[in-house]
């Protein structure tokens, strides 16, 4: 694939808007790129799927500039849908930032948009579509800005090394819209694909039955470190790449290579490891850091790291391995010439150890309890309990060594290092505290300070992600003043880690390095961590601050920071319309439906839900009159952070021919409260409330307009084994149901159940 790149070397007079001092010796250069965004068909897995290519390639072409250039990037939208491009980590005027409906209107189909801005920084960055889920299907690319000649920060032995830009990404054969929908519907299909269902059966086998029980008691679904199963992991668009020469020069033993790595994955963190020895980290998020040698590092979604690796032996290529955080998949670069030395793959996670850890951290009310550990900067990683390479391989029952391990763990239980992987093992893992800027990064001293505090909130069961329990559309813009020093204190009270990204500014991460705190524009924050960031507000505009996991962002996990009294953005002619469109992202409803075609009737449900609202209909359709037909429709609103409580209004309709008794009279049915109902063509309005009890049992209490009361206990999808689910229901109308479901495919299951109305049945369940 050829990069179409057209330079227009024009000598322009020094532009007035240029804020940087440029030596008169160097004429300002305009670097022009033309990007043609077009639908394409790809085949990563043996199946043909739709993707988006730019200039005919995935990833998008690497854009290279030198500090001091002016970038002119023409985006030709040849799609039949809107698009946009965001220049991740760049300092630029707000209207060039590329967030549709915030900094510009979307680029309409078959139109061209020009992004024009001065390059006033250097470093490894990347760019991607900020429009819906386009980033998942190909719209990501490297964006490299080189230091200009004579830059005083030029580092010999680092900045002059041969360099390779690498953008990491993932591929799924499912449409991203479908992935998003499945996540919101708590589908466990991805867990099945990853072999991470963590069912009761598997728990018992692993000797962790109690752990699983406690987990469900605390109302948690099986947790994983990441949400989506991907078919392929890609580095520059390929699962495996040989790199034998750079710029025409053959690689040989002793050569050092700089990899400029961006994580363009939509939702995957990657472990980076190298078969040829340690990895030297020299820059992060485009900003130089003092070189630090590590055995491995994790790169958060949308972060960039510049690393230097050495080829340690002749006639050998060494594997540079990027493994997803859940360790189900990886991609490789083989660096050097000759036989390929493989890296030890990251061993599989010990899920039940993780579950046990979560049980310990989770309070009954859904808050997290850090047990006074004051965690920050990724130094303590609760997940180490799941890492066999740090905390030991999973031992078989009765193994003597296991006892030894547990003893050891008991001893360290109260020490600070229980979760510090660098203290627990010889493997050096990078954390933010190890990053140090080579230059002082202090903010202006006399500027007023504005402090903002956010708690990262959310729940996995309903896939709702927010800040302070409010999504973008529920919160006001946060006003800041130009010249202020803004300090943001983040606490992650959710159960997942989040890479929080700020547009248009670099912030200092206060990490104990004093004046030399590193500059970043993404901070990965793990559950229960608190991190403090600060930056000087120096560019007007509306800047997005959000979680960069694509599906979290689309669910509304973010805020807009807006400068007070700023000039209107010329690219947003109708701010109200723009805002409505921006808010539409997290207000969207997600649809799911399920129907069981069984021998004794049709059972099914359909549900539309978004962040707060749920509209659902259930039906049971018998094949004979006395089996009857019934539907129940509920419209409810989820309350609270954990969304365990949902008051609703309902409408029921039932039709059922009752059997006659000996006297020829129609029998009414009495419920537990002695109330009678006929069920024969019954239409009822109801008010009710559903509450999720420990063990994830839903208690639903309803009062109908005729005064009848119904109390119901229900639990669906109890994970019995990897693919086997059990469900039960019983209520005060003396109805009950129990059933099993074996999940065959994403949308298909075999099922059997016994129903008090319809008796025993078996069939197939189709779900969407």
């Amino acid at each position: 694939m050829v990069i179409q790149k057209s330079f227009c070397k024009k000598l322009l007079p020094l532009a007035a808007f240029f804020t940087l001092l440029i030596s008169n010796l160097f004429a300002q250069k305009i670097v022009r790129y033309d990007l043609y965004v077009k639908d394409t068909i790809v085949n990563f897995t043996g199946k043909q799927k739709r993707a988006i290519a730019v200039n005919g390639q995935i990833p998008m072409p690497t854009l290279t500039f030198t500090e001091g250039d002016t970038a002119e990037i023409y985006v030709h939208n040849e799609l039949n849908e809107e698009t946009s491009l965001h220049w991740h980590g760049l300092f630029l005027p707000n209207k060039e930032d590329g967030v549709p409906n915030l900094t510009q209107m979307p680029i309409k189909p078959h139109t061209t948009h020009l992004y024009r801005f001065a390059i006033i920084q250097h470093g490894t960055h990347w760019y991607h579509s900020h429009t819906v889920l386009q980033e998942q299907i190909g719209m990501y690319g490297n964006f490299v800005m080189l230091k200009k000649q004579g830059d005083p920060t030029f580092r010999k032995g680092i900045d002059d090394l041969p360099a390779v830009p690498v953008v990491l990404s993932e591929w799924t054969d499912y449409k991203p819209e479908n992935v998003h929908r499945m996540l919101h519907n708590a589908s466990d299909w991805f867990a099945i694909k990853k072999n991470a269902t963590q069912s009761y059966g598997e728990a018992i086998k692993a000797g962790h039955f109690k752990t699983k029980l406690k987990n469900e008691w605390k109302r948690m679904l099986a947790m994983d470190v990441s949400d989506v199963y991907y078919d392929k992991i890609l580095m520059n668009g390929n699962p495996s790449t040989d790199i034998t020469s750079i710029d025409g020069k053959q690689l040989k033993a002793g050569d050092k290579i700089r990899l400029r790595i961006s994580n363009g994955g939509a939702s995957s963190y990657f472990w980076l490891t190298y078969a040829g020895g340690r990895i030297t980290v020299v820059a992060n998020d485009g900003n130089d850091v003092e070189p630090v040698e590590v055995d491995r590092l994790i790169i958060a979604v949308s972060e960039t790291y510049d690393v230097v690796v050495t080829i340690p032996a002749e006639n050998t290529a060494f594997e540079f391995l990027a493994t997803t955080e859940d360790r189900t998949n990886s991609a490789s670069y083989y660096i050097g010439n000759g036989i390929k030395q493989l890296m030890t793959p990251q061993p599989r996670l010990k899920y039940f150890e993780g579950m046990k850890m979560m049980n310990g951290m989770m309070k009954m009310n859904g808050d997290l309890d850090d047990m006074g550990m004051n965690m920050s900067l990724n130094q303590m990683d609760m997940n180490v309990v799941m890492y066999p390479e740090i905390t030991g391989e999973l031992k078989k029952k009765g193994d003597e060594e296991r006892k030894g391990m547990e003893m050891k763990n008991d001893h360290s239980n109260h020490s600070d290092n229980q979760y510090n992987s660098n203290a627990l093992s010889d493997i050096v893992t990078l954390n933010y505290a190890m990053l140090q800027s080579p230059t002082k990064t202090n903010l202006p001293k006399d500027a007023p300070v504005k402090e903002l505090k956010f708690e990262l909130t959310g729940n996995m069961n309903r896939y709702v992600w927010s800040l302070d329990n409010k999504v973008v559309s529920e919160a006001d813009k946060i006003l800041i003043k130009k010249g202020e020093n803004i300090r943001i204190i983040l606490y992650n009270g959710s159960m997942m880690r989040h890479p929080m990204h700020l547009h248009g500014h670099d912030f200092r991460v206060l990490n104990g390095q004093g004046d030399n705190a590193p500059l970043k524009n993404i901070v990965d924050i793990m559950p229960m961590e608190t991190d403090t960031l600060e930056f000087n507000a120096n560019v007007e505009g509306d800047w997005f601050f959000h979680c960069h996991i694509l599906y979290h962002m689309m669910s509304g996990m973010g805020r807009v920071l807006s400068y007070e009294k700023q000039a209107a953005n010329p690219l947003i002619p109708n701010p109200k319309l723009a805002q409505r469109k921006l808010f539409a992202d997290d207000r969207a409803f997600h649809f799911m439906a399920e129907n069981d075609f069984a021998t004794n009737g049709n059972d099914g449900m359909a549900m539309l839900q978004n962040t707060r609202w749920s509209i659902s209909t259930e039906w049971r359709l018998g094949y004979t009159p006395h089996h009857g037909k019934e539907t129940e429709t509920h419209i409810g609103r989820y309350i609270g952070k954990m969304q365990w409580l949902m008051p609703f209004i309902g409408f029921d309709w039932r039709y059922r021919k009752m059997e006659k008794d000996g006297m020829g009279m129609i029998k009414g049915e009495k419920n537990l409260f002695g109330q009678t109902n006929t069920k024969d063509n019954r239409r009822q309005f109801s008010l009710g409330v559903a509450y999720t009890l420990p063990m994830l049992v839903i208690l639903q209490t309803e009062i109908y307009h005729d005064g009848n009361v119904r109390v119901q206990l229900m639990r669906e999808d109890i994970p019995v084994a990897k693919r086997l689910r059990m469900s039960f229901m019983l209520n005060s109308d003396k109805e009950y149901m129990a059933g099993f479901k074996y999940i065959v495919g994403k949308n298909f299951a075999l099922s059997t159940h016994y129903d008090s109305d319809m008796g025993f049945g078996a069939g197939v369940t189709i779900n969407y």
Partner: protein
């Protein structure tokens, strides 16, 4: 005759049955390093995937025949799995951790691995996988270790020559030299795989050498020489001789059960019969 036809038919059927499982089948024969039958099981288990690939590894030739579905996989993907199980092959070197996990008898020589260039690089590797220390020591001490065992092998060859000449007195003296050479070996300096192999044969070597030493009866000496040769063979396979060595076999020795010996020459000079049947036997393996 009938049974032969039947067997042939069964064999034919089973091969077609095997191949029928893999569609778009392609076959490649590639080098995979390994030692023993146990290796064969591990290699084949790592690479066999229902309906996608099957592998047949030959212990003698170290060649693996890979049959695979060319639409679903390729040779490199199969070889990568083999390497991840611990076995170097023509495309991939196993991770050190995987190699170190192999049972002692499977620790084949890693011919393809080149020494790390610089001191720092070596340090890096050792800290990275903390159990690889032996591996690196092994590489650094490779020459030293061969020197140590060279004395043992040389004494053995002298002893063998004495037996070829049917000279019990010299054989006894050479056995004494062999004993000395064995005792002189500093086993802690041996590479890990050689060390393992050494530990296994050490007691038998000592015993056999002693028995040959204390008698001048050539018949007795030849009896002990049989087991001595078998153990020497096991050792030299792992330790690698400095020059080519031939493993030879005489079907008549050991009362018709056959016996082996090692020689530096390809031509057969039978130590079990000497001049009686000097050239009886053949070379069964060439060890380089």
């Amino acid at each position: 005759m009938k049974s032969i036809i039947l067997m042939a038919a069964v064999a034919l059927l089973s091969t077609t049955a095997c191949q029928a499982q893999i569609k778009n089948a392609k076959t490649a024969t590639v080098k995979v390093y390994g030692n023993c039958g146990m290796c064969e099981t591990t290699i084949e288990k790592a690479a066999n995937k229902t309906k996608v690939s099957t592998v047949d590894w030959n212990e003698e030739t170290k060649m693996a025949t890979i049959t695979y579905d060319s639409k679903k996989t390729n040779v490199d993907a199969v070889l990568k799995n083999i390497a991840l199980a611990g076995y170097d092959n023509q495309s991939f070197l196993a991770p050190d951790a995987a190699y170190n996990k192999l049972p002692g008898c499977c620790k084949y020589d890693r011919e393809k691995k080149t020494a790390m260039l610089t001191q720092p690089a070596k340090d890096t590797m050792t800290t990275m996988q903390n159990h690889t220390n032996h591996q690196h020591d092994g590489m650094v001490n490779a020459t030293q270790e061969t020197n140590q065992l060279t004395a043992v092998f040389d004494s053995y060859f002298s002893l063998k020559d004495a037996l070829v000449k049917t000279d019990g007195t010299i054989a006894s003296a050479k056995a004494k030299d062999l004993q000395k050479a064995i005792n002189a070996v500093k086993m802690e300096k041996l590479a890990m795989d050689v060390h393992n192999s050494w530990m296994k044969v050490l007691n038998n070597l000592k015993e056999d050498a002693e028995h040959i030493n204390i008698t001048k009866d050539i018949a007795h000496q030849r009896d002990y020489f049989m087991s001595l040769s078998t153990n020497m063979y096991a050792l030299i396979k792992v330790a690698k001789p400095t020059e080519t060595v031939y493993y030879q076999y005489c079907p008549m020795a050991n009362e018709g059960k056959g016996a082996n010996w090692l020689s530096k020459e390809s031509g057969v000079k039978n130590p079990y019969y000497g001049a009686q049947m000097l050239t009886c036997g053949k070379t069964v393996e060439t060890i380089k």
